[in-house]
Symmetry: D3
Subunit: 336 residues, 6 copies
Amino acid sequence: MRIAAFGEVMMRLTPPEYLMLEQTKELRLDFTGTGVNILSNLAHFGCQTSLITNLPDNRLGDAAKASIRQLGIQDHWIGSSGDHIGSYFAEMGFGIRPTQVTYQNRRSSSFGTSDAAAYEFTSFIEEIDLVHICGIALSLTDDTRNAAFDLAKKAHEKGVKVCFDFNFRPSLNEKHGVLFMREHYEKILPYCDLVFGSQRDLTDLLGMELTESLEPSQQFEAIVHEFMAKYGIDHFAGTFRQNEGDKHYLSGFLADSERVVRAQPREIINLDRIGAGDGYAAGILLGVVENWSLEESVAFATANGVLAHTIQGDVPLTTRRQVKHIMEHPTVDLIR
Amino acid sequence: MRIAAFGEVMMRLTPPEYLMLEQTKELRLDFTGTGVNILSNLAHFGCQTSLITNLPDNRLGDAAKASIRQLGIQDHWIGSSGDHIGSYFAEMGFGIRPTQVTYQNRRSSSFGTSDAAAYEFTSFIEEIDLVHICGIALSLTDDTRNAAFDLAKKAHEKGVKVCFDFNFRPSLNEKHGVLFMREHYEKILPYCDLVFGSQRDLTDLLGMELTESLEPSQQFEAIVHEFMAKYGIDHFAGTFRQNEGDKHYLSGFLADSERVVRAQPREIINLDRIGAGDGYAAGILLGVVENWSLEESVAFATANGVLAHTIQGDVPLTTRRQVKHIMEHPTVDLIR
Amino acid sequence: MRIAAFGEVMMRLTPPEYLMLEQTKELRLDFTGTGVNILSNLAHFGCQTSLITNLPDNRLGDAAKASIRQLGIQDHWIGSSGDHIGSYFAEMGFGIRPTQVTYQNRRSSSFGTSDAAAYEFTSFIEEIDLVHICGIALSLTDDTRNAAFDLAKKAHEKGVKVCFDFNFRPSLNEKHGVLFMREHYEKILPYCDLVFGSQRDLTDLLGMELTESLEPSQQFEAIVHEFMAKYGIDHFAGTFRQNEGDKHYLSGFLADSERVVRAQPREIINLDRIGAGDGYAAGILLGVVENWSLEESVAFATANGVLAHTIQGDVPLTTRRQVKHIMEHPTVDLIR
Amino acid sequence: MRIAAFGEVMMRLTPPEYLMLEQTKELRLDFTGTGVNILSNLAHFGCQTSLITNLPDNRLGDAAKASIRQLGIQDHWIGSSGDHIGSYFAEMGFGIRPTQVTYQNRRSSSFGTSDAAAYEFTSFIEEIDLVHICGIALSLTDDTRNAAFDLAKKAHEKGVKVCFDFNFRPSLNEKHGVLFMREHYEKILPYCDLVFGSQRDLTDLLGMELTESLEPSQQFEAIVHEFMAKYGIDHFAGTFRQNEGDKHYLSGFLADSERVVRAQPREIINLDRIGAGDGYAAGILLGVVENWSLEESVAFATANGVLAHTIQGDVPLTTRRQVKHIMEHPTVDLIR
Amino acid sequence: MRIAAFGEVMMRLTPPEYLMLEQTKELRLDFTGTGVNILSNLAHFGCQTSLITNLPDNRLGDAAKASIRQLGIQDHWIGSSGDHIGSYFAEMGFGIRPTQVTYQNRRSSSFGTSDAAAYEFTSFIEEIDLVHICGIALSLTDDTRNAAFDLAKKAHEKGVKVCFDFNFRPSLNEKHGVLFMREHYEKILPYCDLVFGSQRDLTDLLGMELTESLEPSQQFEAIVHEFMAKYGIDHFAGTFRQNEGDKHYLSGFLADSERVVRAQPREIINLDRIGAGDGYAAGILLGVVENWSLEESVAFATANGVLAHTIQGDVPLTTRRQVKHIMEHPTVDLIR
Amino acid sequence: MRIAAFGEVMMRLTPPEYLMLEQTKELRLDFTGTGVNILSNLAHFGCQTSLITNLPDNRLGDAAKASIRQLGIQDHWIGSSGDHIGSYFAEMGFGIRPTQVTYQNRRSSSFGTSDAAAYEFTSFIEEIDLVHICGIALSLTDDTRNAAFDLAKKAHEKGVKVCFDFNFRPSLNEKHGVLFMREHYEKILPYCDLVFGSQRDLTDLLGMELTESLEPSQQFEAIVHEFMAKYGIDHFAGTFRQNEGDKHYLSGFLADSERVVRAQPREIINLDRIGAGDGYAAGILLGVVENWSLEESVAFATANGVLAHTIQGDVPLTTRRQVKHIMEHPTVDLIR
């Protein structure tokens, strides 16, 4: 199974040891992005992966490509255009102090200024079996919207599976209202086979309504299946976060046309939560492409998502061996 | 409101990543001190702040001033004398291992060897509305005692508000007994408007007595109001630390002539507790100079004190936005 | 003498130990810019300095302001707008390998998107005696051109001295040709009192012509005085770089209406040459505002420029004591 | 009391800040090993200690010896042979993610290729009162087995106390079965005075049997005393780890010929658990050589073992003052 | 042109800032080796490259592969065996203090213990056009000799070009004498098309003799052509190092069947000379596979070799653009 | 030969990568001092060495002792008193920018406040053959003068060789004039066997006069022998520094009662010149205690002094093998 993703590569700059930007001149540089995160994790699970995006043709673009290769992702579909990589600064929180992310100018990045014409989607699609399209593309610019639609449509027509996540960010959509965004989501969904999202995406973004006569858990199942049926979607998945006293738990669900299966919640111990959701997504994708049962998929994806919270940086670098190990030996704290 | 402080600037040298001094050759250098901490926090709250102290006229003194400016404090009242900055090494503890602070020779520092004649207090006072005097000055040397009294007296006479904290350190007073110290505290208190301290400062240092016939909580209120009345003090404030099982809580109080108000305790998650008390003090000072209610002041100050425990180093660098955020959204762990 | 500057604040990100971007994840963050560099150096010489610019109202903007204060520059004229700081990555060269600078998106920075209306120039001018305007503003955007003209005009009208540098960067002017730029330079020069530039700026940018009948050194003097007379400029200054075998030398000139004085060349030993030209400019500015002889000014400025090459980062942090020391004791390699 | 140890010196290479090997190029180098750990801790308790081992005669061997001296251990019995130091990489875990140790080629190290003839045991024994022999020597190579037996025999014959730990590592014994190992353990035990191990070592390795008719706690006492009587052992000690909900506890026991005493369990807060068991062993050794009561010994050793979990690296660097402090003031989190 | 290499991957551990091992606990980890170096450089020149070797199937092997991919080399022919990667520590010299390399146990590495049967050479050869075999394989172990012969033979038979370098290291051949080594070199040379070596390799290793009746420069040409004719070699290349006063120069030669062309020497400014020879080799390989003239090849290769001395680490990461830039603009020290 | 030293241990705090104090928060901590430097070098040459000094009984004193042991020096004569270690900050220069050392309060250190009564000199002397006394002790405080005299006298009386260096620092003697210092030098010299100093020490400090009728080189020999005869000194040694164009050279001399022998100058390439003079002294001491010829001694000492300039930090860590290597193979820049 050859898995690809279309999405933005970002620079992440992080001060060491929980310091704030004012407190240090030392930063750690990583290259990240939803597509990068998911593909890297799948590559660590043994899949062949490839990213399609644009980067500037300069020293920084070269360094980004080197980093992407290091993560296990093929870089030969990465093109050159523009002269900017979007960046963000992550001041890591501690205890009650939240992690603070400050973005720098995503819209004018090489990715943000590339439309469909900037990519060779037609040849690209011939080399892959599944493509993940990050929903951020629908929020970013007219160019990225245009490219995302074009890719989804071409892939769908050629029988390449399309995986999509809602990834709605209010901060990126202050100008456009919900109706503008709904229109675009509704345009891309018919091309999609596997979608990541939440109940709130269905109600608030798509304007669907819960059947209040049903019990709460049935309400969720009902709206999920209504959504999947409406757009012809094979799988729909997402996560839940719960708090119980001081403790935080991650759980998730995966639905096919017949069932919605929820995972046993797992406690989150948090080293770096940015990108941890991509760990859940990568786990689900692995289960779906390898035809695991829904139960196996959500259990593996949840364990992987919890592990992703314990890894520095956005990119979940777990292997199957590591995920299996914490599923089978949850109390072992030293392996040698 | 132009707020100033009189106090010592110290160097803090900290090994990285919880290492002990024997384990590393890498140290992080910060400039700190009660006055520095409180002023920097107030500057981050938007106040205009200025430090009066002495530093050596050498590369180290220049680096200290640069750091103080960086923290948001004006440095034009910092004079030159002596050739030494007091320092301390902080080996950060973990779990049951306590943080270990080792001081190096505070008394012979530029600050420790400067008496009132070494400062231009008269002109200084004309530029400010309130001055914080750290009680460490009463414990350090004859010179610092002399300077503290002179400044408190001059400020009081000119109508500049005087804020004072007890800050009694037994380790700095091994030579002089409690009676020696009591005499000096009694000498400075009549000049003071806002004082930081604890019940034990009133009983053990000043020799005041609890009215045992009252209920415990009333005992505290009674002695506080007796103390305030005796010295003509407008506000008295301080913190409580409590343990409950494994959990640690911070709370605090603020008294005016009529009431003593206590804050709701907040759990402490501890990254670096040195200087965290100065976060509480800065919060109270902000409330007092902006005429907030006692309730608002203690709530803000406690939240700020708890936040200060989650920041590396002594200096609480919180902004109003951050404090308000954890008061209103205590469970959010990622802001973007 | 209260000296101010108008210009862009940039982030500089530098890998350690001569590593290239591909080779490391560790970067050092500095805030820099021509105005920052010159003002910081003048502050280290004892002048009161202030920067006027715009920065984003976020954590990064706050960190930039903290850094600027640390350098000795007042930050109260720094306003807020936009959400981006221009950045560049500096891969430090070694031997024959040149230092490689990669810029990221300067035009959409807070500075690049602020026109005259975004600043309170009228009040600002009342607090200063001299303002430095970096010529980059003429190359960057319509907004920065507009702001630079407005400031130069207002300052000139109020009798505040205007200092300007050509700072022409072909890479920033690929779209606009020389004629477009000439028009803008000709528009600002009549407001200027002190200008930094080179012979090539006069010939290639302004289209002036050398008097070929003169001897080469007289050609230079003649065109300089013709230029100064034409625009009513009091002082014109700049640097020369020469190579002799393996050795590199820095020299400079300063002209008033009567004479052009050249400095004795000094050998350059290069640790970090970015921003070293700003060290020469700061030296000249000090001499001019303190009415030194032309000879004293160029000697001091050249020594300072050479020292600036031996300091990490763009910002020349030299003091008068350091510059004097290398002028008087050039062979001392250890001071204690 | 002059205490010595015979054992392997290893290099430990650790990424910073919980990073995994793939995520960083920065490693911290420490020299470690059971003997190094125990002796260094005893040296910090004030004992005179000495290590006998072999290291390569190269820059790395010299650096290892410098590090061993730094830890407080005399290095004049460290000989030269071979050209390799065994190493391991420790990727520190976080929360549910376990610490992952990857060994590199221990068997061909200088230690692994040195048999009894490579050491001057006879002279060495004359300078010491007690020698600790790490059981790893029985698992490593024919050469290390040979050397361990020879040293144990010679020490025993000369009246030097022999301390031995089972330290059985299945991963080092994949080739040889339990019976092969049992034979070697049975061969060395008659020379030993103080042994560290667990009930499982007695049953699984030595093939001893529990008396099922007794109550569980009596079963343990009975087999311990049977084991001690059989081999003429004076003291037998070891640790227990328990989990209760999310909490982990360390406890331990120490037996003499009459009693088996267990320590009060203490909660473990884990910074780095590698080598923490050596903290318990060092505490017991101190108690035994100073003739403390069994109760005092296990209490001190358990407190020390718990402290060892809060120290970066394998080597427990605690002093008596630190251990006493947490025993007497367990809630103090800042000492100054 | 698909270029591959067969050779060892080593870990290089380097203290920062010219420190010696005794002086620091911080090390930088790089993965290197002649094959890695040459392929990475060729990948940066735009070639498709692939390494065939064996690494342990553990965390360290995975990290090595990630690093190799990052350098631009495909890793899908890297197999798993053994449990060890050879390593070396590089204490960087300064001035008269030489760089000191200390090796750790190369022979028992995964590469050192893999013979021809451990690789799928037959399929591998089908995917490539040229393979580089590092001569270290002839010195290391019987297994590596066996693998190198087998690969050279198979490649030669299938028409895949074989590139070989002598790379004779006396320190690896203390046991075997020159005659043993000569036999193995003579065995592999008939399969080779492009060879890297020196006059001394021909005389001392192969026992060839100079024609003393010729002039020195003709002697060299004569023996080179005799050597190439004897073994049917198309190209022979190598470097010269010369000193002139304090200055060091690099030059090189490239011979085809008709001519021996020498490059103009270039001065070496040395940041890290380890691996710099591989920069020359990569330059020659590029010229040969792209059919440049001998003159162009040696000029480019020498410039590249000199650049490689200015890059930290073994791996020459230069691009065509960088090499061309220093060839055309040798005095530019800042590019922006 | 058991060699000891009496002298101050200082902390050295150094910013990384040529940064100045204002530019960084990262410092490297080393423990140093003339005695530490010389003994560590002699220990690396294979001598048994021991330091006698006082350090505070706290975490910093313990860390200092650990560092001293690491350097190869025995620490059992290091006592406890006071609460302060003198420190200095070293901002490393580059090119024309000199290294800048800023001292912090040496006089109130544990060493500065310890007189003869604070040491057990009588027992100490019984364990050693030669003791080095650093002349700084004569400049520091009455206590250190008192201790130095007492030790020199007792050692001399017991036949232990006394080695002394002038080490006159004007900055430490601003209060006392030359006559005060002369008196103290004259008091200690009669106890000394080997002295390090310069012609200027003899003329300016001791007030001796050159015989102007002699030729310059004979003047030096004459005054040296006059000095040695007057105080009964066996050996007198020192260094010369010369500049020739841009190049710096180190040379040195060693005199016995008959001859004054000068070394061939060697070029200095400077990484860190602090403490490099101690490398020369250690070389001379080795030659003297091993009875080498004067020629061998000065050649070795000069080579060692030049090497010491290429090592980070004050402490020359060279081995005999390294010194011999650069004497025999001065052009080798890579050893493997």
